[in-house]
């Protein structure tokens, strides 16, 4: 069976150890979590976890069944099998020197990246997009010399439910 990336959206009761429980037990059973995003929903009592993992269909079904067993899990939804949109975000700091300033400014303009901090010695960019878009941006940023970077996990939303 073919291995691919799955994005699983999990609604949970917002309990202090719910994330540790889910991550710990999936890890203990040998499943790999590739990326993870967690925050509360419109209700503080309920959080949404968006998790990506790689596996064949049988493994993914096992993960879903395992997730449904947790007392604090309310719903499990595999967004890979439905129409959904996906986003990640990166924050990037590029250092500016006399040599690089011009090229950095030009590249930022070309791709219309969003500058959120602009200082004499550096700029910080905020870029969002789906995985290919982020990878594309990273490839362009690399030659400019990334001083520091933070990348979020994937968040995703169904088009309709």
């Amino acid at each position: 069976m073919e291995k691919k990336e799955h994005i699983i959206s999990i609604l949970v009761h917002n309990k202090p150890d719910v994330l540790a429980r889910i991550a710990g037990i999936l890890g203990g059973k040998g499943y790999n979590i590739e990326s993870l995003c967690v925050n509360t929903t419109t209700s503080y009592e309920i959080s949404k976890i968006v998790m990506t993992t790689i596996g064949n269909q049988a493994t993914i079904t096992r993960i879903e069944n395992q997730l449904r067993k947790f007392v604090d899990v309310i719903a499990v939804n595999n967004l890979t099998n439905v129409e959904s949109i996906h986003r990640e975000m990166i924050l990037v700091r590029l250092n500016l020197s006399a040599d690089s300033r011009e090229q950095v400014t030009k590249t930022i303009e070309t791709y219309q990246w969003k500058v959120i901090v602009s200082a004499d010695a550096y700029v910080i960019l905020e870029i969002t997009g789906d995985k290919p878009q982020i990878d594309f941006a990273l490839a362009r940023l690399e030659p400019l010399g990334i001083a520091d970077i933070t990348r979020t996990g994937i968040i995703a939303l169904e088009l309709e439910n």
Binding site: P16, D17, R21, G28, T61, N65, R68, K69, F70
Partner: protein
């Protein structure tokens, strides 16, 4: 009504009809113990917290109720881990209360602080740290509910000392908790599918597992098998869910399964697995398991289905409700097995039974462990619940003691915990004082929780220990004999206490048998004495458990041992 945390705890325990707690006190639970001093609930002071959990687990397995333990924080809590993991693997409902340092000290490495909810997350069904008095009542209620609902399991509740000392207005009507009842009734089209499969099958076989016992579905399973003359084999955990004396019973399958059960699995064309999760000890190599069969798997837990063995018809459902539906459907649609096919299949099984029955050499100089077990079965006359330790003692019990009723074999299947049997027997005996409760033990295992003899003696819990003393870690020695050219690396245990004297030192009766002729007399005497008794049977040292499926083999590929085994 204003109540303290400790009062709320005891109040809810009473509401939950808890009759008995197995526990061990310490600093963080002193206040709770002070309440217990005046409570109607019985408390058994064990000698090690592991013993408390196994005792509660034995009580739970024998009664079907939730077992309850109470221990202190830190080392008290960590000592429960093996017991909790044991219960978790076999889906046994427990609520384990652990003391915890006050909430304002958590995270400070306070004296006897330990993150027990962190430690037990992977081996509990769920656990809780109660952070304030407001959540106390609902958390305790919820813990009992989770422990017993759906696929049962152990739940740990960590109780910080200051939460238990705090006061709150207690109103039982206001306690709210979420309901996880996962009662499943399978879709009717599944029943039609089973019907089709049965109608086409010539060689059907049922595999019964622990889920049948937990789901209280033995009567339905037995009715199904008997009405349609379907032979039945079982996993270790399924033993007792179908009458062991019934001709349709093939005994256990798997690594130490009977020849005929394993042959039947390998030749059947329809395998109906009920409450079975297909552990590797059951299947042998997966790709050769039941290759000729279509497989139906009935289980309450979707995560047990299609995990180890890929099945043709998964049915997620409560075992009792599903079997009831199945019988109803088959009856309404006049299912009848085709007589000639069924006779052929049962005849084939009879031939296998005749060819390689369970056997051992009966007429030697030494006591045979199998003979001790058979004799125990004979003289106990059904009025008995057996617990076991782990190793050869456990496998011989599964093979040579026919269990006719569910919940009469109490054994650690999934985790295989040596030291389980004695404390579990104590828990069972507390629930069934009028039955013989016998721990069939090995000399290695019994030493792992031997201290519980003191508990039995103190409370006059008259459990009996049948010690199959071979002076070895027998099961490991067997593997060394068969797969490591008899290099007995660190399995000789001849350096051991004199068990009779040890028993006496604990205030328990010790008996010893060294010759086959003494077996029956010793057992009769031991069962008759109204005290805990340890019977030390000095058995033939290098006896092996046969049949045996070697690691990495198909279950049809069994070592049968020599018929004339060394004596």
């Amino acid at each position: 009504m204003k109540l303290k945390g400790t009062q709320i705890l005891l109040k809810i325990l009473e509401e939950e009809k808890v009759e008995i707690i197995f526990g061990y006190p310490g600093g963080t639970v002193l206040d709770i113990y002070d309440r217990l001093y005046k409570s109607k609930i019985k408390h058994i002071l064990v000698r090690h917290e592991q013993g408390a959990v196994h005792a509660a687990d034995g009580y739970a397995r024998a009664t079907g109720k939730v077992g309850v333990c109470l221990v202190t924080s830190g080392p008290g809590a960590t000592n429960t881990v093996t017991g909790i993991a044991t219960a978790n693997m076999d889906s046994i409902p427990l609520v384990v209360f652990t003391g915890q340092v006050p909430t304002f000290l958590i995270g400070n490495d306070a004296f006897q602080e330990c993150d027990i909810t962190g430690i037990t997350r992977p081996c509990t069904k769920h656990n809780f740290l109660v952070r304030n008095i407001e959540e106390l009542a609902s958390t305790i209620k919820e813990a009992f509910h989770i422990a017993r609902s759906g696929r049962p399991g152990p739940v740990l509740v960590d109780l910080p000392k200051n939460v238990m000392a705090a006061e709150i207005n207690y109103d039982p009507a206001k306690i709210k908790f979420r309901n996880y009842d996962t009662f499943h009734k399978p879709a009717p089209k599944k029943m039609a599918h089973v019907y089709e499969m049965l109608a086409h099958a010539q060689k059907p076989l049922i595999v019964t597992g622990g889920g049948v016992i937990l789901g209280k579905a033995s009567a339905e399973l037995t009715a199904l098998a008997r009405r349609y003359q379907i032979p039945v084999t079982g996993t270790l955990m399924g033993i007792g869910s179908f009458p062991g004396m019934d001709p349709l019973w093939l005994g256990m399958l798997g690594m130490h399964g009977t020849y005929y059960a394993n042959m039947a699995v390998s030749h059947c064309d329809l395998l109906i697995a009920v409450g079975v999760r297909f552990d590797d000890r059951v299947t042998g190599t997966i790709d050769t398991f039941a290759t000729n069969a279509e497989i139906v798997q009935i289980d309450i837990d979707p995560s047990s289905i299609n995990r180890n063995v890929v099945v043709d018809l998964p049915i997620i459902g409560d075992t009792k409700a599903t079997l009831k539906d199945m019988i109803k459907f088959l009856t309404e649609h006049n299912y009848a097995p085709q007589a000639s096919y069924r006779k052929e299949w049962l005849d084939q099984i009879a031939i296998w039974k005749e060819k390689v029955p369970l056997s051992y050499c009966r007429d030697g100089r030494f006591i045979k462990p199998q003979h001790v077990i058979e004799t125990l079965h004979k003289i106990a006359q059904g009025n008995i619940i057996v617990t076991t330790e782990v190793g050869q003692n456990q496998m011989w019990t599964a093979q040579f003691f026919p269990f006719d009723e569910p919940n009469t074999l109490v054994t650690s299947g999934g985790l295989g915990t040596m030291g389980y049997g004695l404390p579990a027997a104590i828990g069972v005996k507390c629930a069934f004082p009028d039955k013989h409760v016998v721990d069939i033990a090995g000399d290695g295992s019994i030493q792992m929780n031997i201290q519980e003899l003191a508990t039995a003696a103190q409370y006059k819990i008259n459990v009996k220990i049948v010690l199959l003393n071979n002076g070895y870690l027998g099961m490991v020695r067997q593997w060394q004999e068969l797969f490591y050219e008899k290099r007995y690396s660190h399995t000789d245990m001849t350096y051991a206490p004199d068990f009779v004297k040890l028993a006496e030192a604990y205030g328990v009766v010790g008996l010893r048998a060294t010759k086959p002729a003494e077996v029956e007399k010793t057992l009769r005497e031991g069962l008759a004495i109204e005290k805990p008794v340890l019977m030390d049977f000095q058995v033939s040292r290098e006896e092996c458990v046969y049949p045996m499926v070697g690691p990495g083999s198909s279950i049809s590929d069994m070592k049968l041992g020599t018929r004339e085994m060394i004596n």
